[in-house]
């Protein structure tokens, strides 16, 4: 046996990994460039506590009526990322989903004084409501992106489907825009994939039937798993 044989074996594995990495980077430029751009812009404006949304100071003291919509859905494009974000408010409770087909995040929070604050795993969304849109920023695993999400009506907006199959929890999320643009992802056991296209009916995923539902149905459900 050549004494170098084992080294060649290791090298072949390393080369294969590098090739896969190069091919993946090449075929998925959207995220990489988006996050790179974002890093540049955030680095360029370091200090200055972002004069972003979140106005809503303390008018609550004056007992002004809270004009936050009781029931509204927003959906729009995440600038600099190209993914979509959808937000839903039901009586002060708020949910949001951010997804670009690759990365995703489910967030939950409150809507008060026309301000939204939602938290999820490694993610935070803050937004100001008004003028028929939600305007704010999403922070996700060290990235920051802005978005402007107009009010949308069914069938546009946010959908979520959950299933429990032999102990495995499956969670699918979809966002549909009035323009027809749609994105979705299905996650199970910490492994996710882009979701099959969703047109209102059930979605099949490896033989599991998922029925996407609107926030009316799932906003009060169990969110612990994600």
């Amino acid at each position: 046996m050549s004494r170098l044989g084992p080294t060649y074996t290791l090298a072949a594995g390393a080369v294969l990994a590098v090739v896969l990495g190069a091919a993946s980077l090449k075929s998925s430029p959207a995220i990489e460039t988006a996050s790179a751009d974002q890093n540049v812009t955030t680095a360029a404006t370091p200090s200055a506590p972002e004069p972003t949304p979140i106005p809503a100071p303390e008018p609550s003291e004056t007992a002004a009526p809270d004009t936050t919509p009781k029931k509204v859905d927003y959906a729009g494009v995440v600038q600099g990322n190209g993914g979509l974000v959808a937000l839903a408010i039901r009586n002060g409770r708020a949910v949001a989903y951010f997804c670009d087909g690759h990365i995703e995040s489910w967030l939950k929070g409150k809507a008060e004084n026309n301000t939204l604050v939602l938290e999820g795993k490694n993610a935070l969304i803050t937004a100001a409501l008004g003028g028929g849109k939600a305007q704010g920023k999403i922070e996700f695993q060290g990235h920051k992106w802005r978005f402007v999400a107009p009010v949308v009506k069914r069938p546009s907006g946010l959908y979520r489907a959950t299933a429990l199959v032999r102990g495995a929890r499956i969670v699918g999320g979809w966002i549909k825009l009035p323009t027809g643009q749609t994105v979705g992802k299905i996650e199970s056991g910490n492994a996710g994939e882009s979701a099959p296209y969703f047109d209102g009916g059930p979605v099949d995923w490896y033989g599991v039937t998922l029925q996407p539902q609107t926030p009316d149905t799932f906003i009060d459900g169990d969110w612990s798993a994600l």
Binding site: P6, T9, A12, S27, I31, H102
Partner: protein, 187 residues
């Protein structure tokens, strides 16, 4: 390999110190994979092997093929060490090539796991899988680097090979077995 150890030039003069570099290198590989898996932002996407209905199915089947080859590895290794009554000139080369193929089959799987998903520590299955994955490549690297060391102690290859085999079977149980028992046999 037994033929090396019975070589007349090398009497029983063995030293565990010769394993220092292979073990250090293996440790570095394992730690590096873990750090990469934890630190980088998972992309949620990676190039994989085409022909399956999705990345999960692709990984489940490649891992299953690698695990079957690993069982073959165990059998041929036992035969080469005279532990089971199976003999043949073909054994060493069958062992080497089945090992190489198994290793190469795991690379697209591990790449997808690390690049797309990253190391995660949420549920027992995923914790064990993440740790075993890093450990497997570490111990495999150590074994490959230890193979040419003729003065390594006699237990070197059985221990490193056994650990690699155990880790790979553990990886299969925490991934492909989970997939098949959850979703059924899906391609």
């Amino acid at each position: 390999m037994s033929d090396i150890r019975t070589s007349p030039h090398h009497a029983p003069r063995t030293s565990a110190a010769t394993l220092l570099v292979p073990l250090l290198a293996g440790g570095l590989v394992a730690v590096a994979l873990g750090v990469y898996g934890k630190m980088h932002t998972p992309t949620g996407y990676a190039i994989g092997v085409a022909g399956f209905s999705g990345p999960l199915a692709m990984k489940a089947w490649l891992t299953t093929a690698a695990a079957l080859l690993a069982v073959f590895q165990l059998v041929t290794a036992l035969a080469m060490w005279g532990k089971i009554p199976l003999q043949g000139e073909w054994l060493p080369s069958a062992h080497r090539w089945s090992g190489r193929i198994a290793f190469i089959l795991t690379v697209p799987v591990a790449f997808h796991c690390l690049y797309s998903l990253g190391a995660q520590f949420d549920t027992p299955r995923v914790i064990i899988h993440s740790l075993l994955g890093c450990f497997f490549y570490g111990v495999f690297t150590a074994k490959m680097l230890a193979l040419p060391k003729r003065d390594a102690p006699g237990w070197t290859l059985p221990v490193l090979g056994g650990l690699a085999f155990t880790a790979l079977i553990g990886l299969w149980l925490t991934s492909a077995y989970w997939f098949f028992t959850t979703f059924g046999i899906k391609f």
